[in-house]
Amino acid sequence: MSVKEKTAPSNGSSELKLTKKSFESDQEVRWCPGCGDYSILAQTQRTLPNLNIPKEKYVFVSGIGCSSRFPYYMNTYGFHTIHGRAPAIATGVKIANPELSVWVVTGDGDGLSIGGNHLIHAIRRNIDLNIILFNNRIYGLTKGQYSPTSEFGKVTKSSPFGSIDHPFNPISLAIGSGATFVARTMDRDPAHMQQTMKTASEHRGVSFIEVFQNCNIFNDGAWTKYTEKETRDENVVYLQEGKPLVFGKKRDKGVRLDGFKPTVVSLTEGKYSESDLIIHDSSLMDSTYSFILSHMMEDPTLPVPLGVFRSVDKTPYDKALNQQIDDAIETYGKEPDLQALIEAGDTWEVI
């Protein structure tokens, strides 16, 4: 039984007496002043007390990169591992002890480049991990090379003539890998991030969250269009379950589907009303819809969706594995005879 299932939903935080402070470690935070990582750390520390999970059951596992220093700053069990391998290590933690709430902290380089293989396979298996990918579209810790999410043509230290790599779309990749929970949030919207983390934690199986995160040193302003008050409303659409995709400062625009193609329509010209728009449904098992949403990012005429793209139920790997073990124990008994096992097959006595 996983942590999430057996946890009673009501006012757990007061029972456990956990606060943001409970999750702050004694280590000095060493990200650059102004880094988006500070917000993600703070939102995590604000969210965990509300999940009704005892503090000792949290494990934060990270790889290498700026984001991956995260576990040192959380007063939980933590494991700062090696580049790209956090999903694999977290998988072992979760299989060995399914009672734990296991979180993976990774970045666009760690998770999508060197660790791409582990990320897609952890997602495909639907192992009950919460994966947070800090996407700043740059290698920060190695001081500014283009990353797998850097835009085509981006000039960096390692691409003085412009990057000729085509970027990954992390949400599309996660959906393509069979993710059962996919969401996007951003460092500049604390309330939304907290809500997203809480929803992700409550999901059974793998949860993948992409966070738009600003690296103010090597890639400042990568997400400004979406994160800043002045431009956000015109460029972002918040996904709300069962609600039409409406956006704009005056909520005067919407997104409707023209065949497979999302288009922006005006809600004030009289031609379209909210009933013509996409009504968000993250529970569709078929991933076509969530994949279309994920691709809105590629079209500059469309707003970028934030929120939960997809949330469906499939048996998590860890649950299935433990079910097999329970079944085997039921069949063969709880205390199987090891002596009988090593004496199995053809034996003979030498007198």
Partner: protein, 610 residues
Amino acid sequence: MAKPVESLKDVTIRFAGDSGDGMQLVGGELANTSALIGNDIGVLPDFPAEIRAPIGTLPGVSGYQLHISSRDIHTPGEEYDALIAMNPAALKTNIENLKPNGILIVNSDSFGDRNLQLARYEENPLENGSLDKYQLFLVDMTVATRNALRDLQLSAKVADRCKNFFALGMVFWLYNRTTDHAIGLIKEKFAKRPELVEANLLALKAGQSYCEMTEQFATSYEVKPAKLPSGKYRNLTGNTAIALGLIAASKKCGLPLFLGSYPITPASDILHELSKYKHFGVRTFQAEDEIAAVCSSIGASFAGALAVTTTSGPGVALKGEALGLAVITELPLVICNIQRGGPSTGLPTKTEQADLLQALYGRNGEAPMPVIAASRPSDCFETVYEACRIAIKHMTPVMLLSDGYLANGAEPWPIPKIAELPEIPVTFAKNPESFAAYLRNEDTLARPWATPGTPGLEHRIGGLEKEAVTGNVSYDPRNHEYMTRMRAEKVEKIADDLPPTEVHGSQKGSLLLVGWGSTYGAIRTAVEHKQEAGKSVSRIHIRHLNPLPNDLADIFSRFDKILIPEINSGQLIHVIRDKYLVNAIPFNKVQGLPFFSSEIEAKIDEILGE
């Protein structure tokens, strides 16, 4: 009139055929039957890396060699007394090691022009007198098998696939083996296809009848049971021994077993075997790659499991960085390297001992890791058990070296009593008052094992250098030097735990052979022969390769010369020369094959000036 039976002390038999001819199956069955009769056995499965190389070609030949004895033996034999060659390619690749006047049974049906050409024979060796020095038996096995199965009305293709059991039937007659076990095997293996049960049983019987009825075979042979120490025995391969040893260790230490693994020859059988034992709480995780396999095991160890990863040399290369992580985070972990011929993909199905230096040094930075090696198939059980004990007691990754020869080889195993195996105590940190992540045990220098889920012990570990005691990240120069020394000293201290090294033979003398790993049988046989001949030769066999036992310097000082035979170009010898400043003599073979004891005997003679 019954034919005469001649008694032999021991016999070496080799089956050779196409990869699809089922040589491994019948060879293994002859081994099992002989073990059950009470013989001591040694086996050498020798097969190509290709699952099915083109039929009839030289690269497609698969062999199975078996040494059956009425004495206690330690090798799969050298030159064989009998060769069963199912086609020209099998004859060509195996005839060289058949003893003069040895029995050569050939499936003459397969010696058509096409097969001769595929085997690169310019003329038919069955007709040109080139095989005159052997007892050549031409048997039309294909036709004889088809005839035997005629009533079943199977297709020729299906009937022809039964000829391995025809061949086994002949060998059973020739060496007076009982068929009960083989009959059981056929019934079990083909349970889902009753027509194949019948067909193979008929083929087995037909092979026996053929020898009994025709005048070709005048004599049969017997090998009496060996006088092994009393007890209950089973036949055991090295890979099965590792699987069982791990389950035993898991049970003894009370921790659930976690295996993270990625399929690789010749280690995959351990994954197959362990994945059966869910009722023992065994969690097997077939990872997406070698790196994920070891990383998942490191994660499981952090969470408090007995964590293991199994692989071969190329996999160890990929796991290197993660092994460094296990070293610096000081977590218990067992890495089983079932070595094969290298470098790169090398010789996947052939044996080699060429990963010793990789095991000792193959990581970035100074990352000391205990290394131990199994010496016989059944010794894999004890050795992996010992690896688990060291890993847990000393909070360290431990690398176990086996190899293809041990992995696929089999021998009778006196089954131990689980209750009598050494205890493996586990202590998890519980008390927040006295806890610090890198506060070391005074005796072992091991750090505490504090698993997630324990209230009050929340802490962070990772690959960055640790501050002594607290385990916090530290870039302090002196701390780094201190921690580097601590990690080394912790591993060195394991030597204090080791039993004295056993010197077989006189305790001092002219020559000491120093072996490790799967050269055990060949070295032991060679040394015992020379000792019987009155030579001043002794031997030691080293299980613990890092740290080495404390008494080696003393032992080396008592011998004039030291000889180190290895299935590599000389690896242990580097370590020995470096550490003890002794002028040891190397003896090396790098052919993907184990030593013959005669090769070692010749080397001993050379050194002793015979």
